[in-house]
């Protein structure tokens, strides 16, 4: 049997890495297990001429497409939004675009402000120092003074506006709508051993330059220097409990398929909004027949995915093309509730540059803008290097019928049941998507775009996995308490997007990591009464 550790963290992605680094100064023995491996920047697609092809192969967003040994299948047939993730040290930060907004102060008070969903048991002010700390650790580029947020520090200067940001920014000025350079976890100068961004344009498939803030390059080297151990290619199947109802450790399979038990004093889950409920549900036992930490019945429920709308257009003048960080500016003009719109809560836009030649061709043909035959070449040249657009990220309100369960038939390579997703769009989300498409088209027309295309909801956009082990003070209405500890199992913590009470209308990684750092701080503060 493995030697007992003080803290076992499951998952080496955004939240697990932040947690490990923060707890390292306690000098406890800390071990992190991850089912994937370390990434090698020389393996990332932008090193090769086949860089676009690999985005749909071994760097595809869907684990069902990649089907690598680190992956597990996800049954998402019963969802209009398909699941995207990445399994490996760094987790989803390997494939994210580095777009890095925080939740807004109002996001933590949705019930009080708008009478829907629930308030969080913590607020923006509580998280603010951890947002700031995380920005420094991840190396966030931004421009101070964004009127959409309370004042926040600038770690380094923003990513370039480029032609895209300037053309669309002028259009937004004409409309009188908010915009600002995006906060991005992308180094715009040499920073803590990371080289500055050289505009490879491939943030979404690993950064060959190492400029993007991925936790294998930010938190993990620091945590390892502080003697945190990370054990890759180890897939946890279930968490074990003792007669006192406390977690005793976790069973896992190593790369050779051999099963082990890792004993631990504290178990921390950081497996994202699908992996975490999957593991809790698969940890059902005589003591916990409905799954671990599930006396509320809410493990796996309230899944939130952020419905996306995509609006893109083409311009007569050359734009940035595939060069530069894909996202350059954002708009939070429609973030807050306005009753006249017919829906509650709101969305933000992230404005994106163009595409490489392969994606220009495949999307152009799919959208009917690019014919087969002799006219293909002229049409291609009107599209390539001339496109820009936006994604609208709509706040997804929690609904209990949107959930993760265990698939009765489908299993991963180790025989562990696969997660099954049951999700439908709410009427509120549909109205919000429609609104975002209509306003997005207006922005593109104001900017002079032609050949405008829209998609809503965007099918392969289940990047943000939240809500399936929600935080709260009432054990009957939540899975973990206001500092991340399970109501039912007092040495079990959850720190990933599962604990989100509401989703906000922005990408969640910054907030996920701030919450992880906050929970780590709570653990350290309460260390001598942690299980009371």
């Amino acid at each position: 049997m493995n030697e007992k550790v003080d803290v076992l963290i499951i998952g080496a992605g955004a939240s697990g890495a932040a947690m490990a680094w923060s707890l390292a100064d306690t000098r406890m023995r800390i071990l992190c297990l991850d089912q994937g491996d370390w990434q090698n920047t020389s393996d990332f697609p932008s090193n090769g001429r086949d860089w676009e092809a690999r985005l749909t192969e071994d760097f595809a967003l869907s684990p069902n497409r990649r089907r690598l040994s680190a992956d597990y299948p996800v049954n998402d047939d019963d969802s209009p939004i398909k699941i995207s993730n990445f399994n490996g040290v760094g987790g989803g930060t390997i494939l994210y675009a580095g777009h890095y907004p925080r939740l807004h102060p109002s996001d933590f008070r949705v019930r009080s402000l708008d009478g829907v969903a629930d308030d969080w048991p913590i607020d923006y002010e509580t998280l603010e120092p951890f947002f700031a700390l995380n920005d420094r650790m991840m190396g966030v580029a931004s421009l101070a003074g964004d009127p959409a947020y309370p004042e926040k520090d600038q770690v380094m200067g923003p990513i370039p506006l480029g032609r895209t940001g300037q053309v669309l920014g002028k259009a937004l000025n004409d409309l009188g709508w908010h915009w600002w350079p995006s906060d991005a976890a992308i180094a715009t100068r040499e920073y803590e051993g990371r080289a500055p961004c050289i505009n490879l344009g491939q943030c979404g498939s690993g950064c060959a330059q190492g400029a993007k803030g991925t936790t294998d390059l930010t938190y993990w080297p620091e945590a390892q220097r502080a003697r945190v151990e990370i054990r890759p290619r180890c897939r946890v199947s279930r968490i074990e409990t003792g007669p006192d109802g406390m977690a005793t450790g976790a069973h896992y399979f190593d790369a050779d398929g051999k099963e082990h038990f890792q004993p631990a004093e504290i178990v921390i889950l950081a497996c994202n909004g699908i992996g975490t409920p999957r593991l809790l549900l698969n940890s059902a036992s005589g003591r916990f027949p409905n799954g671990l930490a599930n006396s509320s019945g809410l493990v796996g429920r309230n899944l939130m995915l952020h419905p996306y709308a995509q609006i893109r257009g083409h311009f007569d003048q050359p734009m940035d093309g595939h060069r530069g960080s894909p996202i350059c500016i954002w708009s939070h003009e429609f973030y807050e509730t306005e009753a006249a719109r017919g829906f509650v809560r709101g969305y933000c836009y992230q404005f994106s540059r163009g595409m490489g030649p392969v994606r220009t061709a495949t999307t152009g043909m799919a959208d009917g803008l690019l014919p087969w035959g002799e006219d293909h070449h002229d049409a291609f040249r009107r599209l390539f290097g001339h496109s820009a657009g936006m994604l609208a990220i709509c706040e997804d309100l929690p609904e209990e019928h949107n959930r993760v369960t265990l698939d009765p038939d489908l299993k991963d390579a180790n025989g562990i049941p696969a997660p099954k997703i049951s999700y439908r769009l709410s009427e509120n989300s549909r109205l919000m998507l429609d609104h975002s498409v209509e306003r997005g088209v207006k922005i593109l027309k104001a900017a002079g775009a032609r050949d405008i295309t829209t998609r809503a909801p965007l099918p392969y956009a289940g990047w943000h996995l939240m809500g399936t082990a929600r935080m709260g003070t009432d054990p009957e209405r939540s899975v973990v308490n206001e500092w991340g500890r399970s109501h039912d199992v007092k040495n079990l913590f959850i720190v990933d997007g599962s604990v989100f009470v509401t989703s906000g209308g922005v990408n969640p990684t910054s907030t996920i990591q701030a919450v992880a750092l906050y929970v780590a701080d709570q653990i350290k503060t309460r260390l001598y009464e942690l299980f009371d």
């Binding site: 092809a53 749909t56 992956d71 102060p105 109002s106 959409a148 060069r323 030649p357 392969v358 070449h377």
Partner: protein, 154 residues
């Protein structure tokens, strides 16, 4: 049902013995003397396509079978005009299958040296040279600043 997830080994080239794929990609992206580019049925590009089908192997086989079914008696044996008519119907009726052929073709066509040079893109991977992007004029934000804070206090 246990799903095997394995790190993909190199797979053998796609089998297009009856020439259906070759004929289709030639219709999709023909050579252009005016632009000085080969068609997707150029021997080097076609060989790259066959080598690079990857995870689309099964879907591509289904797409080609659907074309063959529409053609009746051998797509490659039809006249060029007859082939074009079959493909027009195929694209209209089965866009998902058509998109598979488009994807496997575009992935290789648009990384060919001759094609890349023609569309004005440097013939190299993005790394390590990277690209230049205009920093942009941050004074464009003056009207946004002038409006003042828009965030909602809880």
């Amino acid at each position: 049902m246990t799903q095997t997830m394995t790190d993909q080994a190199e797979t053998p080239p796609f089998d297009d013995n009856d020439g259906t794929l070759l004929a289709i990609v030639g219709h999709m992206i023909p050579a252009s003397a005016r632009h000085g580019v080969p068609g997707a049925d150029d021997p080097a590009i076609y060989a790259d396509i066959l080598r690079s089908v990857g995870r689309d192997r099964q879907a591509l086989a289904e797409a080609l079978a659907a074309v063959e079914t529409r053609a009746g008696a051998g797509f490659a044996a039809l006249s060029r005009a007859e082939q074009a008519a079959v493909l027009q119907e195929f694209r209209a009726d089965e866009p998902a299958l058509a998109s598979v052929i488009e994807a496997v073709t575009a992935r290789c066509y648009y990384r060919d040296d001759r094609v890349m040079a023609s569309i004005g893109i440097e013939v190299r991977p993005p790394f390590p040279e990277g690209y230049a992007v205009e920093e942009g004029d941050l004074s464009l934000l003056d009207p946004v600043r002038a409006r003042g804070p828009i965030w909602r206090a809880p």
